[in-house]
């Protein structure tokens, strides 16, 4: 992330100098700061909401029922997570939310999952393979129906707005598989 940040900032300011958009870039950086506050406030709401709901299912024991049902699937992917760990439930709920395209639930539950995975981490300052796997699966975003996109297409009078659903599902599944492959390849190379 360090390199990327340096590149983004440097390229932006040099390109702005080149194209004469220095003023616009300065304004954009302050806009970015403002956007970060707005997004954080929005996240504060939904993250607290979902942490509240997860606390209810923890206290009622429902969390064990859920993790019990999905344990076989999740432990197959996340091999080092103990079968009764809360991470199983938060990972499961995050994946289900992603699958149904519920971004407002997926992000908070993903944050919870990362924190649950961190409790299993021995070196608190570097990522475990399980965390990387979880993030890669999230950026691949396996989703049933891309509602926003279909909505825009039909707003503009597409003949068949859902025609893109099938190609979207197939390419998202293929790219998720490739993403996993790349992750495994890097793990082997970096050993």
């Amino acid at each position: 992330m360090n390199i990327i940040w340096v590149v983004l900032i440097t390229v932006s300011i040099i390109a702005a100098f080149w194209t004469g958009g220095l003023e616009a870039v300065t304004r954009a950086m302050f806009d970015g700061a403002k956007a970060a506050v707005e997004i954080s406030l929005f996240l504060l709401g939904i993250v607290s909401l979902w942490l509240g709901i997860t606390k209810i299912i923890e206290d009622s024991g429902l969390i064990f029922q859920i993790s019990h049902a999905f344990r076989p699937l999740i432990t197959k992917l996340f091999k080092t997570v103990p079968p009764d760990h809360p991470a199983i439930t938060s990972i499961t709920l995050n994946m289900l939310a992603n699958f149904f395209g519920l971004g407002n639930a997926a992000t908070p539950l993903g944050i919870k999952a990362m924190q649950d995975l961190q409790t299993l981490n021995e070196d608190k300052d570097s990522l475990t393979f399980e965390m990387m796997l979880f993030i890669v699966l999230n950026t691949a975003s396996v989703q049933l129906i891309p509602f926003t996109v279909v909505g825009i297409l039909s707003d503009f009078g597409s003949v068949n707005p859902s025609a893109i659903v099938f190609p979207t599902i197939i390419s998202t599944v293929i790219s998720a598989i490739i993403a996993l492959g790349v992750l495994l390849l890097f793990r082997r190379l970096m050993k």
Partner: protein, 175 residues
């Protein structure tokens, strides 16, 4: 399509209702549990905020700098040569950086080229199948305050690139 949309609408309210009723049935003080859990939210956001700030400032500056136009000019020739509408390039470049900006660009493409054009189709599949990688990285890494990310970032970027190529190839084959 309608059924799936309905299920998606139903999933959250049904889950919350079930969680609350199950809790009440198990004699949990549901309200107190909820408040106790929600209290943690503030700590989490406190921790994530600086990461979000860093990424938003950099991404916004990059968008405003005109660097996109320079990259687009450099690449659009080779895109047209391959028979790919050059508009697709904008969506492909911005999707990993910003969700709202890519939706805006997509809407614009649909408006100017029509909802059933090749450009609209490819962009739709790219948006539907890719994720705003930098946002996900900032939020999830921020949540656990981890600095050493090993090989995660290159893996995500390669996966994004491959995903976009797959979307383009697949739509070109199908339509």
């Amino acid at each position: 399509m309608k059924t799936v949309a309905f299920i998606s609408q139903l999933v959250i309210p049904a889950f919350i209702l079930f969680a609350v009723l199950y809790g009440a049935f198990k004699k949990v003080r549901v309200y107190d549990s909820f408040v106790g859990g929600a209290k943690e939210g503030l700590h989490v956001i406190f921790r994530i905020f600086p990461y979000l700030l860093a990424i938003f400032v950099a991404v916004k500056a990059f968008q405003a700098s005109g660097a996109f136009d320079l990259i687009r000019q450099a690449l659009s020739g080779s895109f047209s040569a391959l028979g790919i509408p050059p508009e697709v390039l904008s969506v492909a470049l911005i999707k990993p950086l910003s969700g709202s900006a890519s939706t805006a660009i997509f809407t614009d493409i649909v408006r100017t080229t029509g909802p059933d054009s090749l450009a609209s189709m490819i962009s739709a599949v790219i948006i539907g199948s890719a994720e705003t990688t930098f946002f996900v990285l900032a939020v999830y890494l921020g949540a656990v305050n981890i600095r050493r990310t090993k090989y995660l970032v290159p893996v995500c970027l390669i996966a994004d690139g491959v995903g976009i190529i797959i979307a383009i190839v697949f739509v070109k084959l199908m339509f």
